[in-house]
């Protein structure tokens, strides 16, 4: 009888402590989740602000000014635009393959 009582008492104690352990674990996870969600919101906001800053930094007037100062480019004219069909007759990507039997004609 005493053993029986001890067993049941032990069982109840084990159950109780197991339950306590679970609840503290869950609470800890909940706090962690709240912390992470707060960070996600903050990061999203930071991304939003950066997007706005990007649009400001890449506005056409600024890009044009920087290009004039740092790049040696001229406006594109129709002379600069060509198509594949404008390549000299006889020249084609297939013919200019280096590897293999075909060699570029000189």
């Amino acid at each position: 009888m005493r053993l029986n009582g001890i067993f049941w008492f032990g069982f109840a104690a084990a159950l109780g402590s197991g339950y306590l352990y679970l609840t503290t674990r869950v609470q800890g996870m909940d706090t962690e989740l709240a912390r992470i969600e707060k960070r996600v919101i903050a990061e999203r906001e930071a991304i939003h602000v950066l997007k706005g800053e990007w649009s400001y930094l890449t506005r056409p007037a600024r890009i044009a000014k920087l290009a004039r100062r740092h790049l040696n480019l001229t406006p594109i004219t129709p002379r600069h635009i060509r198509t594949l069909a404008d390549l000299p007759p006889g020249a084609s990507p297939a013919r200019t393959r280096i590897a293999g039997k075909r060699r570029p004609r000189r």
């Binding site: 049941w8 069982f11 109840a12 159950l15 197991g18 339950y19 679970l22 909940d30 706090t31 989740l33 709240a34 969600e37 707060k38 919101i41 906001e45 939003h48 602000v49 997007k51 706005g52 800053e53 990007w54 649009s55 400001y56 890449t58 506005r59 056409p60 007037a61 044009a64 406006p75 594109i76 004219t77 129709p78 002379r79 635009i81 060509r82 198509t83 069909a85 404008d86």
Partner: protein, 562 residues
């Protein structure tokens, strides 16, 4: 001695006192019940922790989410941000807690530019519990003020509407008030949709095209003087507006600082007698009606008298001119006679169908109502043939010209980006053959006529000049040019209008649409064509672009680079 001791024990065993037995039974039952209860708890624990399938991520109840959704962004067709909200802070003070008002005011003034220390100190001594010190602190200012560590200062998060591209699309995007409500432009037209938050609103505007138009327009305005200007680029197939510029414009962050004239949208709200650019419509109407054939010739020498005044041409000519010459050389007399051949009522109906009598359709609150004479008399028909006597907005005209050159279908204009490749429903205005004829006429007006300065090599520009003295308002001059390119298969319409440019040029010649507006178009098109994916025609004869126009030009050419 054995029997008698046994008897009492046995007697005790065979008839036990009921109390103990009952007690034991109860105790057993209780133990059983408790054991059962704990078993249930144990089983439930197992079930909850191990057996329940994972549901959607459980959201924590501890985090405060923003109660209101933020105002949606406005972006251009490529995702560039035109309007967005940035987090700021409102700084306010509780004078009851502020220790030293003067010192606090001085330290605040050191960090916040423009803060009047004396006035602030006085306000910090007021008997209230709330004194608003400054709205919309930037993050840096927020950090600095916080660092001061002054007691009695508090912050409240705010959202400030910011326009990263500044004045570039000011008339399109508009601006908001301090409570982030739209007051003009898209901000106002779509105020509800933007206020509800969510995905960004994508406009049809392309900031790169917008920038090119604005820059060239500004240069022309500076060069020719004038009170204002307007520029438009439309996609003829979809009706999308790629650029809408009105000058002067304003900084949407400080709209009140700009004069009234700067906030007036000359492209959509202003109505003007557009002058000879309307001849595109007259010619299209006359040809489509069948009353005028491409080979017909009309008298351009005899002046026309109507309604008490005399109509003549800017450059008087003799005899009879063909239809293309009348168009290319912009003869009023020829045009009037062409319109008369078609008839007054047909012309009126045509103008109505192509949208000249109703306000333009676009997603802006600032839309001007055209001035149209009612009832429509023959004299109105005469003047309307060369663009006088009715006042329309540049957007109406550009949209009508787009309908003429795109094969003959009027497509509603829009400032919202349309999904690529979608077919847009429109109204047929003229036949496809008339549209092709008008393409050739407009091309000739640039290669041989008054629009020579709009010729951008390689892009097959076609168009029509307009020089109109306004009979209403202050009577200024409107110099304009409406173009479409590439003319063998038009994709875009470009319209430039200069308001009251100087009347006279360097050598005393009168400023015309051909001199002031056409060159602007001639500079805009080469800048935007590569952005819009329009391939230039190569100079070498025998190139691939077909369409009659190029073939004819190749035959006539002898060393010209066009």
């Amino acid at each position: 001695m054995s029997a008698p001791p046994r008897e009492p024990r046995q007697r005790a065993a065979s008839a036990p006192p009921p109390a103990i037995e009952i007690g034991r039974a109860r105790s057993m039952l209780t133990r059983l019940l408790f054991g059962l209860a704990f078993l249930v708890v144990a089983l439930r624990l197992v079930e909850v922790s191990l057996l329940t399938p994972s549901r959607s991520p459980h959201q924590s109840t501890n985090v405060e989410r923003p109660a209101v959704s933020h105002r949606a962004d406005i972006v251009d067709r490529n995702g560039i941000i035109l309007a967005t909200g940035l987090p700021t802070h409102l700084l306010f003070a509780d004078p009851a807690i502020v220790l030293d008002a003067d010192a606090a005011a001085l330290r605040l003034a050191a960090v916040l530019p423009g803060l009047d220390a004396a006035r602030t100190a006085a306000r910090l001594r007021r008997p209230t519990r709330f004194v608003r010190l400054r709205r919309h602190l930037t993050p840096r200012q927020y950090y600095e003020v916080n660092r001061l560590g002054l007691p009695g200062l508090h912050f409240r998060p705010q959202r400030r509407r910011v326009f990263p591209n500044g004045a570039l699309a000011a008339h399109v995007v508009g601006f908001t008030d301090v409570d982030n409500r739209g007051l003009s432009g898209i901000e106002r037209f779509f105020n509800a949709r933007l206020g509800a938050g969510g995905a960004a609103l994508a406009l049809s505007i392309d900031v790169r095209v917008q920038h090119a138009v604005r820059e060239e327009l500004s240069a022309a305005l500076a060069r020719f003087g004038g009170t204002g200007a307007a520029g438009l680029v439309l996609d003829v197939a979809s009706g999308e507006v790629l650029a809408l510029v009105s000058l002067p414009d304003f900084d949407p962050h400080h709209p009140a600082a700009a004069p009234r004239s700067a906030r007036f949208n000359r492209a959509t709200l202003g109505v003007y007698e557009m002058g000879s650019t309307v001849k595109v419509l007259t010619a299209a109407m006359a040809l489509d009606s069948g009353a005028v054939k491409p080979g017909d010739r009309f008298d351009v020498e005899t002046p026309i008298r109507t309604g008490g005044y005399v109509i003549g041409d800017l450059t008087p000519r003799k005899g009879r001119l063909s239809v293309w010459e009348i168009f290319a050389y912009s003869s009023n007399l020829g045009m009037v006679r062409m319109a008369r051949a078609a008839g007054t009522s047909r012309q009126r109906d045509f103008l109505a169908r192509i949208g000249m009598f109703r306000p333009a359709r676009i997603e802006l609150p600032e839309i001007g109502t055209p001035l149209v004479p009612t009832p429509w008399r023959e004299s109105n028909s005469v003047t309307a043939a060369y663009g006088h006597g009715i006042a329309v907005s540049p957007l109406q005209l550009a949209s009508a010209v787009a309908a003429i050159v795109n094969g003959g279908v009027k497509v509603p204009t829009t400032l919202l980006r349309r999904p690529a490749g979608g077919r847009v429903a429109g109204r047929r205005i003229i036949g496809a053959r008339t549209s092709a004829r008008m393409q050739r006429l407009m091309r000739l007006a640039v290669t041989r006529g008054t629009g020579k300065r709009a010729a951008a090599p390689g892009y097959l520009v076609g168009g029509k000049t307009g020089t109109a003295d306004q009979s209403t308002g202050t009577g200024g001059l409107i110099a304009s040019f409406v173009a479409a390119f590439p003319m063998d298969a038009p994709r875009y319409v470009v319209l430039v209008m200069l308001e009251t440019p100087k009347r006279v040029g360097k050598n005393g010649a009168k400023i015309t649409g051909g001199k002031a507006a056409a060159p602007v178009v001639g500079r805009i098109i080469p800048r935007v064509a590569p952005l819009l994916g329009v391939e230039p025609v190569l100079d070498a004869p025998g190139s691939h672009r077909d369409g009659g126009i190029l073939k004819v030009k190749a035959e006539r050419r002898n060393g010209e680079a066009n």
